[in-house]
């Protein structure tokens, strides 16, 4: 009885000491973890995996439907019979529905990728997302009308409605792609700044390394300046006379200059690190 009562406090105090020690060690481990540089998960916008296969499938289906429509239309123009008219009407409906589905998938993918792209001014981003939403809403209405359309007059009218919105559809798509690319370039610059400073912290502080880091910083600044100039020019441009496709290509050419500097800086960082 006496031995038991003398062992119990020792056991209790041992448990107490062990628990305190483990607590102290765990706190130190947490502190070290929080102090170590964290690596953010990759935030590269990619097409939504669940929609993308459906989009590709729709594209394939559309090619077939469009080809069948063209053949049916050719036959109708040659024969001019009611049967040929009925055939081409059905083929037109199928092709238009598939075309609508493709556009719907495309703008959903674009919206998904754009919303996940950093480096874009929030107001501009929301404005562009609203434009995409408007297009998606239009396509939804168009799909509902196509589903109930039966006659060739109705289908022709709906075809004309979409044709009338072609410019708006393409403008929104190209605008989004331009802004998305600018956002990606800005994100690259932000990451270059962060990584280059971390690499510089880890290298020996020699005059040569100091000059290398100064050159890296200078090149990043130049790239950012060029990017901002292109963005400002884009936002100021309201009435583009050229087609949207040409405008898109023009901006991609302009963005090539800051991109070359970004690539150059990446190589500089690799060199500094080695």
């Amino acid at each position: 009885m006496t031995r038991k009562s003398s062992i119990l406090p020792i056991v209790l105090s041992s448990i107490f000491v062990i628990s305190i020690c483990s607590f102290v060690f765990s706190q130190n481990a947490v502190a070290q973890d929080s102090a170590s540089p964290s690596v953010e998960p990759a935030s590269i916008p990619e097409p939504a995996t669940d929609i993308f296969p459906s989009y590709l499938q729709s594209l394939e289906q559309y090619r077939q439907n469009e080809q069948q429509f063209k053949i049916a239309k050719q036959q109708y123009l040659q024969l001019g019979t009611l049967a040929a008219l009925e055939e081409v009407t059905q083929r037109s409906k199928q092709a238009q529905l598939t075309r609508n589905t493709i556009l719907d998938y495309y703008f959903q993918l674009l919206m998904h990728a754009f919303s996940r792209t950093d480096g874009i001014e929030l107001g501009e981003k929301n404005l562009e997302l609203d434009r995409i939403t408007f297009i998606l809403s239009f396509l939804k209405t168009q799909k509902a009308s196509l589903t109930i359309a039966e006659t060739y007059q109705e289908l022709d009218t709906l075809n004309t409605v979409l044709g009338g919105n072609q410019e708006n559809i393409e403008t929104v798509a190209y605008e989004t792609l331009i802004l998305k690319k600018m956002g990606q370039l800005q994100t690259s610059i932000d990451h270059l700044k962060s990584v280059s400073s971390k690499v510089y912290e880890g290298v020996e502080k020699t005059p040569e390394n100091d000059r290398a880091y100064a050159e890296i910083t200078r090149t990043i600044e130049q790239a950012e300046l060029e990017l901002n100039q292109t963005l400002a020019a884009y936002l100021e441009e309201t009435n583009a006379t050229a087609s949207k496709s040409d405008t898109y290509q023009d901006y991609m050419d302009r963005l090539n200059a800051p991109y070359i500097k970004i690539k150059k800086t990446l190589n500089y960082i690799k060199e500094l690190r080695s």
Partner: protein, 128 residues
């Protein structure tokens, strides 16, 4: 026998003496040990509690001085161990790979979402 027992000084807390009493009561002759250690029963829990209190105070002091200002993050020790250095290298390596991917994605000639190749003219009555 009874007188012998009466004259014997017995420590009630000693297990050995309790056994001796039993054996003596059964008629055995038991030689008494001269060195009998007396332990005060009432002091035992106090000693244990005192020990526990001291250990607790030392542990609390260790925790207090180890944690220091709890609001400030603990910075890594400059003379970091090789594991910590390797961890930092590994993190920079990951960041470099992520940076390379981001830069590749930002290439203006790289467009992973081109406009779909569709015709806007699917009119039936309109002749070319």
């Amino acid at each position: 026998m009874k007188n012998q027992l009466k004259n014997t000084r017995i420590d009630q807390t000693s297990f050995q003496d309790e056994m001796s009493i039993m054996r003596q009561s059964q008629g055995e002759k038991v030689e008494r040990e001269n060195t009998v250690q007396f332990v005060n029963k009432s002091n035992l829990p106090r000693t244990a509690l005192l020990m526990l209190l001291i250990v607790g105070l030392i542990s609390a002091a260790v925790v207090f001085f180890t944690k220091g200002n709890t609001t400030e993050p603990v910075l890594p020790i400059p003379s970091a161990t090789p594991q910590v250095i390797n961890q930092q290298e590994s993190d920079i390596e990951k960041q470099m790979k992520l940076l390379e991917t981001i830069v590749e994605e930002a290439d203006p000639s790289n467009n992973n979402l081109p406009l779909p190749p569709i015709s806007y003219d699917l009119s039936i009555s309109k002749t070319e």
